[in-house]
């Protein structure tokens, strides 16, 4: 298991070629997708390791990364709506990180030029936690965070 993980870590960096080939239409996108899942990044438990697996950036706090349609309190941790917009020029990707989840990285969205730097999705949260929005632009990383409280749901409706 550990060895497998180290291998995954090692190979984590070189995968973008596959993605490139897929974008160029040279290989089947479904097959490319399997290849390009960054398994190392999805097995980390702290910020440093996560950042390392994602490309070893040093994020700076930025007011240009903004949460929207993201609640302060989630009635149920199974479904927490998250919306992130980046006003950083040249935004290439947006990642959602949940500090206290078993694995920190929840999702990574790679946005080619022409795609607006804004996404919404829904994630699971094990408990009340800081949630980070990590933006990559021009080789640099920008970040903002927000605490989302998770309550135990009752039985109403």
């Amino acid at each position: 298991m550990d060895r497998h993980r180290r291998q995954a870590l090692k190979s984590g960096g070189g995968l973008s070629l596959v993605a490139l080939l897929a974008a160029a239409g040279w290989i089947d996108p479904a097959a490319a997708a399997t290849e390009a899942w960054n398994s190392a990044a999805f097995q980390t438990h702290d910020m440093d390791t996560t950042l390392k697996a994602l490309g070893d950036g040093k994020p700076v706090p930025s007011t240009n990364v903004v949460f929207f349609s993201t609640p302060d309190i989630a009635e149920n941790g199974a479904v927490v709506p998250i919306g992130i917009t980046s006003k950083v020029p040249g935004t290439e990707s947006i990642a959602i990180l949940v500090a206290k989840n078993p694995n920190m990285l929840a999702a990574l969205f790679e946005l080619p030029p022409g795609t607006e730097p804004s996404i919404t999705t829904r994630v699971k949260m094990r408990e009340t936690s800081d949630v980070y929005a990590l933006v990559k632009a021009g080789g640099n990383y920008y970040m903002t965070s927000k605490e989302i409280k998770v309550t135990l749901g009752g039985c109403g409706g």
Binding site: A19, A22, A23, G25, P29, A30, A32, A33, T34, A36, W37, N38, A41, F42, A78, V79, V80, V98, N101, P102, N103, L105, A106, A107, L108, F109, E110, L111, P112, G114, T115, E116, S118, I119, T120, T121, R122, V123, K124, M125
Partner: protein, 103 residues
């Protein structure tokens, strides 16, 4: 065969807004069933969105994306009648591709 996705692609100003719902358990691999056995991780790992033949989004997901995932975003351009095609692949190598016409 996985269930079809529900894709909406609509022009909003000079952008196309894509909203998609996918039918997937997104099991974390941490939960147990009623007999106490771990339910193995089963989750979508990658999502590719094409506008006609051009890639407009590529996502990598972990187990923390909610069951029956939802995602929305916008890309610039797009015209009524264009095709938006979405493919997901999960960790069992199951895959599903569906399309919608921009309206």
């Amino acid at each position: 065969m996985p269930d079809p996705m529900k894709i909406r692609a609509n022009l909003v100003g000079d952008s196309t807004e894509v909203k998609v719902l996918m039918s997937h358990e997104m099991d974390t691999g941490l939960a147990k069933d009623s007999s106490g056995k771990i339910i193995p991780a089963w989750f979508i790992q990658t999502v590719t969105v094409l506008h006609n033949d051009k890639r407009v989004l590529y996502a990598q997901w972990g187990t923390a994306v909610s069951k029956n995932p939802f995602m929305s975003f916008r890309f610039k351009g797009g015209a009524k009648g264009d095709k938006v095609t979405i493919t997901w692949v999960d960790n069992h190598n199951e895959t599903r591709t569906d399309s919608a016409i921009v309206g």
